[in-house]
């Protein structure tokens, strides 16, 4: 008996067919998760073709062909018309030789089955299977594969909308300097106008620079130096208001200042720290901002000695629950993760009454990230 363990290991013929199908599907999935484009169609169509086993397979958007795999490539220009007809029908349709005029002898593309790809109740494209003679079985298979592709595209849509949401939040954050902060800063500056006009003028200029940075429209990333400069301005203005009650210590390794970070990823943390720090018992609070060089990475810590927070609340804030005290936390965490990967989420160390420390780790280099 030749190698019986092997047979047992791989299961029956039917099992193996299932494995093959699942494997092809898993190979096609990553490309499709990027959405329906010529590139993703090109990269996934080979594996989809393996699933169906017909002479040729095409993917189209609603107007024209995106990718073709298999024989009979001269039929490619007919895909657009078939796609239009299928989109109009809104369901799987079979096309025969009249729809596919061909004067090449021996061409095995004599019929086609096309299924619409429906994402969010909207047809975004079609999957077209070309065969010598379309059968009911093939039609069923086409239908199922199209449904599977559509589900993957739906996931892609979900990814994209999550990113859009994140961008919208950043935009909102830019516009969302707290009205209290503006009011209080201007009030504090006003109080200096008579007693110390020079200081008032300086603070006004800081205020102008601060708002200019925060309202900046272009660029997803900035350097840590820029971000910290803005943090410093913010702290200067808060100090003008709180005076000795707000103690600030900065320890910044100059080596990490050129690191590229997502825009406004430190400032919300500092705002939280100031708020928490000053909520503590009378006598004010101390804030410590540290940026350290750790070879390939840069570590930034924002620490306050304030009231602290229940770890569960922080966990919920990081999970994206809104309406909580720490507004920026979930957003910053989400953006760090989408930019640098899940290894680089926020780390929050806190307990009621024990102060809070938020640790941000940023790699010095990440592909596609530059200020």
């Amino acid at each position: 008996m030749p190698r019986p363990w092997r047979r047992r290991h791989l299961g029956t013929e039917a099992d193996r067919a299932t494995f093959r199908t699942l494997h092809s599907a898993s190979l096609a999935a990553p490309a499709l998760r990027a959405g329906l484009t010529a590139e993703s169609a090109e990269r996934s169509i080979r594996h989809l073709h393996d699933l169906l086993g017909s002479p040729a397979l095409a993917m189209t958007d609603t107007a024209g062909v995106l990718a073709w795999h298999g024989s009979g490539q001269h039929h490619e220009e007919q895909c657009g018309r078939i796609a239009a007809l299928t989109v109009e029908a809104g369901r799987t349709r079979v096309y025969d030789r009249h729809d596919l005029p061909c004067d090449l002898p021996g061409c095995d593309v004599r019929g086609a089955i096309a299924s619409p790809l429906v994402v969010d109740e909207r047809v975004v494209g079609t999957l077209q299977v070309f065969a010598t003679a379309p059968t009911a079985g093939l039609a069923r298979a086409t239908d199922e594969v199209a449904a599977w592709v559509a589900s993957q595209l739906e996931l892609a849509e979900l990814d994209a909308s999550r990113n859009r949401l994140m961008e919208a939040e950043v935009r909102a954050m830019r516009a969302q300097i707290s009205p209290h902060f503006i009011y209080n800063s201007l009030g504090a500056i006003a109080s200096f106008v008579r007693t110390d006009p020079d200081r008032a003028r300086e603070l006004l200029l800081e205020f102008a620079d601060f708002t200019r940075y925060s309202f900046r429209r272009h660029g997803e990333y900035t350097t840590l130096a820029e971000e910290l400069r803005s943090v410093e301005r913010y702290l200067l203005l808060e100090q003008a208001r709180f005076g000795e009650r707000l103690q600030v210590t900065l320890r910044i390794a100059p080596e990490v200042l050129p690191v590229a970070v997502p825009f406004l990823c430190i400032q919300p943390l500092v705002e939280n720290a100031v708020r928490h720090g000053l909520e503590s018992a009378e006598g004010g609070g101390a804030i410590r901002i540290v940026a350290r060089d750790q070879d390939q990475e840069c570590v930034i810590e924002v620490e306050d000695d304030g009231v602290g927070e229940d770890p569960d609340v922080v966990r919920r804030a990081l999970a994206g629950e809104t309406g909580l005290d720490s507004v920026g936390l979930g957003n910053v965490d989400g953006r760090l993760r989408t930019t640098f990967g899940d290894d680089y989420g926020l780390v929050v160390e806190t307990a009621p009454g024990a102060g809070t420390r938020v640790v941000v780790r940023v790699p010095k280099f990440a592909p596609g990230v530059h200020a």
Binding site: E255, A260, Q296, H370
Partner: protein, 506 residues
């Protein structure tokens, strides 16, 4: 020499340098800045300070000990080593410094990935960084053995073991941060440790009536012996040193500290000045050694010249103090260069090798991966240093330069200045240059007494490996034209546009 009373200054110097290095590495320099001087915090590293740091990390055992020894034996011909090691920064300044900074890359593999968008190129680059780093570390450890033998009469294996232990302790315990200020201090320490004794020795020499060397015409003439082969070796050396500097892993990471491309250029310019100043000194030792210690040239321990000369020329306590100074400088040279190299190698390893390793099904965390990488980065070259035959410190470093020139130089030059480079072409060129250099190094280590053309070609391979790698890279890129990254043009615009220009760098 037997260990005894005359070992005292050496032991004191080495102990002091070791303790200082460990202390700084463990506790770091803690600058606390409070509200009063707020804006100081966001001020970036000044190019001059950064240049000193690069100098501190760059000036290795080869510069401190090797050059003087080579000049002692082979004469003016060998001045090409310090000239090349300095002029490498000229090439860096003109062609690479600013664009490399603007690419945002921290390490050489980072640059390859950013430019070509390929994990494959990144992997090949990582392997090469480790290879060049090890090749560079071996002579550092060998030099340490030599220093300890000369200073305190210890067996030759003690030096490599001590230096690697100190470096390992430093790097794993907390020295992950490569503090600019400390490295900058190292440069000035090395310069002083060489400059003061040199000045004293020159005074002594003048007092002796300023005797001229009896080395005759051949010693003081460049290119006198060797004929065509000698000419080839010199040109090859020039190619290796001029083009190899840009491929040294521990030098490139320092450029990241510059805030922009302009600062990167200014830093490089300052490095040129600092190195030019430093490299005036080793030839002085070489020439004085020719007069006062010709026996060292024949004894085959020419690398110890810098350490022995003060004692030979000056008697009494002054000689001992000067010996202590050069010993401290030499030891600082090993420690700073090997720390920088180990950190660079360990960083690349932790990112691309140990960071992916799994321990009981869990991925190794950042610090654990870095430490594991550091252990490998230090122990492997240390063991090789103990086992491998002696090539001479400067010559061994020259081979590391030749490998860097044959691999990263083509990648950087073409990556920065030619949009047609493809990932396949880059890999082909890197592999061709890397294999060519490896073959040459293996050959050189095997042959003990080089003679004839083949040995010359293998002993100084850069003159043929660099063109080989360049041509391979261009040819294969041409053949795989379809794989030019779609964003190549945009990337090059970003590399070459000054930051002050308003531009969509998307």
């Amino acid at each position: 020499m037997s260990p005894g009373l005359d070992a005292a200054p050496g032991i004191v110097a080495i102990t002091l340098v070791t303790i200082a290095t460990l202390a700084i590495g463990t506790w770091g320099l803690r600058f606390s800045r409070t509200t009063s001087d707020f804006f100081v915090a966001s001020r970036t590293v000044h190019p001059r300070l950064n240049a000193s740091a690069i100098g501190g990390e760059y000036l290795s055992a080869a510069s401190f000990l090797g050059v003087a020894g080579l000049v002692l034996i082979n004469g003016a011909d060998m001045l090409w080593y310090p000239v090349g090691w300095t002029a490498g920064y000229l090439v860096l300044l003109v062609l690479v410094a600013a664009p490399l900074r603007r690419s945002g890359a921290y390490t050489l593999p980072d640059f390859a990935e950013a430019r070509l968008g390929s994990r494959g190129v990144r992997a090949v680059c990582s392997v090469l960084v480790v290879a060049i780093g090890w090749l560079y570390l071996i002579p550092q450890f060998k030099g340490a053995g030599l220093t300890l033998r000369s200073a305190v009469g210890a067996p030759i294996w003690v030096g490599p073991v001590i230096v690697s232990m100190v470096v390992l302790a430093n790097v794993t315990m907390g020295g992950m941060r490569s503090i600019t200020f400390v490295q900058a201090f190292q440069y000035w320490l090395k310069l002083t440790a060489l400059l003061v004794p040199a000045a004293v020795l020159l005074v002594v020499w003048a007092g002796d009536g300023a005797t001229r060397t009896d080395g005759g015409g051949e010693w003081s003439l460049p290119l006198a012996p060797g004929g065509a082969e000698g000419l080839y070796v010199t040109y090859s050396l020039i190619v290796a040193t001029f083009l190899g500097t840009m491929g040294l892993p521990h030098v490139v990471v320092r450029f990241y500290t510059n805030p922009d491309g302009r600062a990167a250029r200014r830093t490089t310019l300052a490095v040129l000045v600092l190195l030019g100043l430093f490299y005036l000194l080793p030839p002085v030792y070489g020439a004085l050694g020719r007069i006062y210690a010709p026996e060292l040239a024949t004894a085959g321990s020419s690398d110890a010249l810098v350490l022995e000369l003060p004692r030979i020329m000056v008697d009494g306590p002054l000689g001992e103090v000067l010996t202590g100074m050069v010993t401290a400088g030499a030891f600082a040279a090993f420690l700073s260069t090997s720390s920088g190299l180990s950190i660079a190698v360990a960083g690349v390893m932790s990112q691309d090798i140990t960071g992916r390793a799994r321990l009981r099904g869990r991925r190794l965390g950042g610090v654990a991966a870095f430490r594991l990488g550091a252990v490998a980065a230090v122990t492997v070259p240390c063991i090789i240093a103990l086992l491998a035959p002696d090539l001479g410190v400067a010559r061994a470093v020259g081979l590391a330069f030749a490998m860097a020139a044959a691999t990263f130089c083509p990648l950087l030059l073409l990556g920065i200045w030619w949009r047609g480079l493809t990932s396949v072409g880059a890999i082909a060129g890197l592999v061709a240059g890397g294999i060519g250099s490896a073959v040459a190094i293996a050959w050189t280590v095997r042959v003990s007494a080089p003679s004839g053309w083949v040995d010359a070609l293998m002993g100084q391979p850069a003159a043929w490996t660099v063109p080989l790698a360049l041509v391979t890279m261009v040819a294969v890129s041409r053949l795989t034209r379809a794989r030019v990254p779609a964003d190549a043009g945009r990337f090059l615009v970003r590399l070459h546009t000054p930051e002050t220009l308003e531009l969509d760098r998307g």
